[in-house]
Structure formats: structure tokens, C-alpha cells
Amino acid sequence: MATRVLVVDDEAGMRETLVDILEGAGYEVAAAPDGIAALATVEDSAFDVVLMDIRMPGPDGVTVLQRMGPPPPRVIMMTAYAVEDQLRQAIDAQAFAVVHKPFQIGYLLGLVEGAAEEAS
């Protein structure tokens, strides 16, 4: 069974390109435009890895991460803002990794692969 990845980002461009890239890499990908939708999606079906933006309208990525689970999925947080507090919070909330936008796709795919391995 293919690894299931959920992409959560309010930016349509980012969301769509990431879906394409991950599908191209062979993952089964779903997408959500905000935290509420993401929580609903995660409740509906299980995901191995979540790629989630930190800053979003509504509950931010860290809050959403804290509400997921149990058991929580492996969450890779994405951010365009190098705000230290948010990074610390993400790490404290057991995020699998934090990546800065714009990121190297190779590096991101490596992280996703690592998270999927840990999930299985």
C-alpha cells in the first residue's frame, strides 16, 4: 500500500505544486487549505506523513499538530518565517522536521521518505 501524505497550505500554488511533486514521487497525496479542514481530513482517514505550513488562517500549524492524534502522524512543518518561537514550539510539539521555504525538493523528498520509513 502506498504511503499517504497530506499537504496543508493556504497558498494554492504551493499546495498544488507540492501535490504534483509528491504524486510524481509515488506517494498517495491529499490536500487541505487550512487547519480545520486538515483535522477533518485526518479524522476521516489515516495519513503516514503530513506536510503543513505553520502560518495559516485559523489555527496555525503548531496548534493543528498538537490536536492531531493520538497517535500523531509524522508532521513536517514548513515556514517562510524564521521566527524562533515558532520553530521552538514546532520542535516541542514533536514535529518530525521543520523546513524553510523555499526548500530544495530533493531535501524535502528525503525528509518525507525518512518520515514514511519511521511511520511504517
Binding site: A82, P102, F103
Partner: protein, 547 residues
């Protein structure tokens, strides 16, 4: 070192007399001296005038005494004339004189000697020294001859010294004596003894010496008031004293100041008073001047302190303004940078997808264009990272970082542009360094893209790593145009750039990141010989010292 105000004040107190004080002191001392001298002149003149008056009085008294002698001689002369030169009559007439004049040696009536043209023969005489028939010559004869030629006037000899005894002769010619004859009296003289006259009241305050000569010759002293040294010393009044036709000299000094002892000491009072006043004035002036100096020194000190404070304030304000400006720039850059990262991320993702879609395409130009777009996105990302890092320094989150892998990643993010090749030179099995992976990647990207930018004409970029003494060194060497000493000195300043594009924050941020990691960065470059940047970082340990 600048002396403190207390030290200066001490110097002021200890210093020599001020010039002005000295001048005032000297002027007042001179004035005191002048006043004392003037007063002394006035007192002296007064004293001299009083002494002159007293001398005249003494003269009058002495004249009276002489007149008495002349009267005695006249009596004897008259008696002799009446008695026709009889010896007995002469003795009778002069009996009183002999009795009242204990020092009488001779009283005689003389006439020119018939057998001696210059001599005079005694016609009648009393007294122990001479007898009738004795002939007078020499000085006695001179006085007698002068008496004859000066009618009505007495003459005297000089003081004669005869066998150790001092004598004085007085002569009176006609009309005192009979015509052609002379009355002569010779008495012994003892000037050192106090004479009767000298003891008289007017003399009591005076030292009086009467000379039988025109000048003060000690041998001619006839009488002196006390046992004093002759001639007189000090303020002497010398008054001519005419004994008939012979000029004598009356010499007088005062035993005590005639003006009174207080008046005579006035000049000294003036002098001492003046000196004290001068010293007091100089002292007061000195105190005032020193206080003024002290106050001025204090003002200087305070002024200097104020000036220093003002300078410090100004520089602090300048720094504040600069910091505020940088902060404003930083805030703006931060806001813009963050907002640009999202679209850059989308572009980057899209380019990745395009690259995947065109990987099979035979059109090489398309691939090249995609690569160019990717490189430019990387450059834009790096600029934004620098801006954000400069605007808000982030504490490094340290972990063990594999430098070789990070270099691979950096070169993937920033592949060498056309014409440039990268030559790696890795030391054997590098240990992990203690670093914030994102920040160190930014450092490497900065050094690598700087190297590319330095070699517009292409060339080889050397990247070497080496480990030694618990540190890992990463050297990025370009073979570009190198840099001048001036450029090198400004290299790490924010907003300093030599590139046609770029904001000039790369090396400033790089230096700050390396510093925050407890590392060092150095540059070796000469114009025309390229540049080599070396970053040295500590090796990661379980308890990193850098944190």
C-alpha cells in the same frame, strides 16, 4: 593623565607668589621705604633747625662769657693807663681776676719789644707763668699784633701746647689797652673736663665743642660739654663763632633728639607700618588670586567634563539614529523578505516540476533556461536569507553537521554558472562540526556565490576542508581579480558591496553567524591573485562548548 581638580588646587596653593602680588608687594615696600625716608628727612630737618637754634643760644651765652673776660681786661687796661703802666696798679686792678679765674696763667700788659721787631715785652703781669720783661714771640705775638691792628676787638691765639699743658691766649688792643699797648690773658685749657659754662642749663641736652680754629681740629678744642669724642659725629651743627677778630668754631650735637624720641622714631614707625601693610596687601591679593585661579580651574574642569559628556551624548545619539535606521531597514526587509519566500517557494516547486517534465525533451536551451531560473531563485533566496538574518540575529540551534554533505547541498542549490568549475579537496574523514545547519548552509552559500561572482571570466573555484586541533576549516578560494587593502578593510561591514547587484549583507551576516558559532573567518587576498576565505568551526561534542 589629566590632574584632578584637587591636585590642581593643591598646586595652586603650593605655587610661588603670583606676579601681581609680587608687584604690589614690591610697590608697597618701595612706598613704605619712600615714606619712611621722607618722614626721616622732615624729622631730620626739624631736628637740625632746633639744633641750630640751640647752637645760636649757646653762642650767645659763650659771647656773654667772652664779653665778661673782655670787660675784665678792659678794667685792667683802664687801671694800667691811669697808673701809667705801673706794675703795682696792674696787680691791684687784676686782683679780682686772679681770684675768680683759677686757671689763669698770665694776665699782662704788653708793648712792642724795642729790641725785637716781631716780639712784645711784658710791661706788667700777674699770674704764675710770666713776669715783667718777658718777651712774647711766635703765635702769641701774632695774636697780640692782630689785636693792635683791630681796635676794639679781641683776638686769640690758637690752642698752644706748652710743656704738655694746653693754653689759650686772648689779646685786646686799644681802646681796651693804653695806646700802643695790649692786654693779654693766657689760661690753661682742659677741653675734656666739664667746664662751668658747659654745665649750664642750655647745654644740658647738647654736646658742645668750641674750637679755637675755623675748622673742627681736635687739638684746638677749647671746651667741651662732656667727655665726648672730638670731633663730634652725627648730625653736627658747625656755627662760626667770632671772638672779636678771630674766627672760632662752635660745634654742637644733640645728646637726645630735640624733637622728642617719639618724633625721631616716626620714620621707623612709618617704615614698619608700611612693610606690614605691604605684606598684608600682598597676602590678601594672593589669597584672592589663588581663589580665582582655583575657580577658573574648576570652571575649566567642569567645562571639559561637560564637553566630554556632550561628545558622548552626541555619539550615542548618532548611534541611536543609525541603529534606528538599521532597525527600520531591517523591519521592512524582514516583512518583504518573508512575504517573498512563499512565492519563491512556489516558483522553486514549479521549476522542479518543469525540469521533470522537460528532462526528456531534446531542447537543451529549455533545460538551460530552467537551470538559469533555478539559479536565480537560489540567489534571490540567499539575498532574502541574508536580509532576514541581518535584521534579526537568530541564536544558532547547534547540532552535529556534516560539512561535506552540506557543501554538496549548497553546490546543488547554487551550481557553478557557465565557465566555472568547482574543485573539491576534502580532508580525510571530517568530524561533524557544532553548527546550526541552516545558518552554516547560508555561510557556505555566501562564500561559494561570492567566489562565482569574483570570476566573471570563468575559472576554477577551490573548496578545501581540513580538520585539526578540534576544529574544521573550510576554505573557498577563487581566482578572480582579488581585492585591495581598502576593500578588505571594509569587507565585513553591512551594506558594503563591490558587486553590480546585491545589498552587501552576505559577508556581514556570514561573519556574525561564524562568530555566534565560536568560529573565525579570515581572508587572504591580493589584487590580481584572487581571494581565499577560510571559516574555522569547532568540532561537535556532546556538551558543546559554544552553547
Amino acid at each position: 593623565m589629566e590632574p584632578t581638580i584637587d591636585e590642581r588646587a593643591h598646586d595652586v596653593r603650593r605655587g610661588a607668589l603670583r606676579g601681581l602680588s609680587l608687584v604690589v608687594l614690591v610697590v608697597l615696600l618701595l612706598a613704605a621705604g619712600g615714606a619712611a625716608w621722607g618722614t626721616r628727612r622732615v624729622v631730620h630737618d626739624q631736628e637740625h633747625r632746633l639744633l641750630s637754634e640751640r647752637t645760636s643760644e649757646v653762642g650767645l651765652i659763650l659771647q656773654t662769657a667772652i664779653s665778661a673776660v673782655q670787660a675784665q681786661l678792659a678794667n685792667a687796661g683802664t687801671a694800667s693807663r691811669l697808673a701809667n703802666g705801673s706794675q703795682q696798679a696792674f696787680i691791684d686792678a687784676t686782683k679780682v681776676d686772679v681770684a675768680t679765674t683759677p686757671n689763669l696763667l698770665t694776665e699782662a700788659l704788653l708793648a712792642p719789644a724795642p729790641d725785637n721787631r716781631d716780639g712784645f715785652v711784658i710791661l706788667a703781669a700777674v699770674g704764675p707763668s710770666n713776669k715783667v720783661g718777658d718777651v712774647f714771640t711766635g703765635e702769641r705775638a701774632d695774636a697780640i699784633r692782630k689785636a693792635i691792628s683791630s681796635p676794639g676787638k679781641m683776638t686769640s691765639t690758637r690752642v698752644l701746647t706748652d710743656r704738655g699743658k694746653k693754653t689759650l691766649g686772648l689779646a685786646a688792643g686799644p681802646p681796651t689797652a693804653p695806646p700802643g699797648q695790649v692786654m693779654y690773658r693766657e689760661t690753661s685749657v682742659s677741653p675734656a673736663g666739664q667746664s662751668r659754662t658747659a654745665a649750664a642749663q642750655p647745654f644740658s641736652e647738647l654736646n658742645v665743642v668750641l674750637y679755637a680754629s675755623k675748622t673742627a681740629e681736635p687739638s684746638q678744642a677749647l671746651l667741651s660739654s662732656t667727655k665726648i669724642k672730638i670731633p663730634l659725629q652725627g648730625d653736627v651743627v658747625n656755627q662760626p663763632f667770632n671772638l672779636g677778630a678771630t674766627a672760632w668754631l662752635l660745634s654742637v650735637t644733640a645728646q637726645h633728639p630735640l624733637v622728642g624720641s617719639l618724633a625721631s622714631r616716626t620714620p621707623w614707625f612709618v617704615l614698619v607700618g608700611g612693610l606690614l601693610l605691604g605684606l598684608l596687601m600682598a597676602y590678601v591679593l594672593e589669597v584672592v588670586l589663588r581663589r580665582r585661579d582655583y575657580a577658573l580651574a574648576l570652571v575649566d574642569e567642569r567645562t571639559a567634563a561637560l564637553r566630554t559628556s556632550l561628545g558622548a551624548l552626541e555619539s550615542a545619539q548618532e548611534q541611536l539614529v543609525r541603529q534606528e535606521r538599521l532597525a527600520a531597514v531591517g523591519q521592512l526587509a524582514s516583512a518583504v523578505g518573508h512575504e517573498l519566500r512563499n512565492p519563491l517557494g512556489v516558483i522553486s516547486n514549479s521549476l522542479y516540476l518543469i525540469r521533470g517534465a522537460t528532462s526528456e525533451s531534446p531542447d537543451d536551451r529549455l533545460k538551460r533556461h530552467v537551470a538559469t531560473a533555478e539559479r536565480e531563485v537560489s540567489a534571490a533566496t540567499l539575498i532574502i536569507s541574508d536580509l532576514l538574518d541581518f535584521a534579526r540575529a537568530r541564536e544558532p540551534i547547534v547540532a552535529s553537521v556534516d560539512v561535506s554533505a552540506l557543501l554538496d547541498e549548497a553546490l546543488e542549490v547554487a551550481p557553478p554558472p557557465h565557465g566555472i568549475t568547482v574543485a573539491r579537496e576534502n580532508g580525510a574523514a571530517l568530524p561533524g562540526v557544532a553548527a546550526d545547519r541552516d545558518q552554516l548552509r547560508q555561510v557556505l552559500l555566501n562564500l561559494i556565490t561570492n567566489g562565482y561572482d569574483a570570476m566573471n571570466d570563468g575559472g576554477e573555484l577551490n573548496i578545501a576542508t581540513a580538520a585539526s586541533n578540534g576544529r574544521v576549516a573550510i576554505t573557498v578560494r577563487d581566482h578572480g581579480s582579488g581585492m585591495t587593502e581598502d576593500t578588505r578593510s571594509h569587507l565585513f561591514e553591512p551594506f558594503f558591496t563591490t558587486k553590480p547587484r546585491g545589498v552587501g549583507l552576505g559577508l556581514a551576516v556570514t561573519q556574525r553567524i561564524v562568530g555566534a558559532h565560536g568560529g573565525t573567518i579570515s581572508v587572504d587576498s591580493k589584487p590580481g591573485e584572487g581571494a581565499a576565505f577560510t571559516v574555522s568551526l569547532p568540532v561537535f561534542t556532546e556538551a558543546p562548548a559554544a552553547q
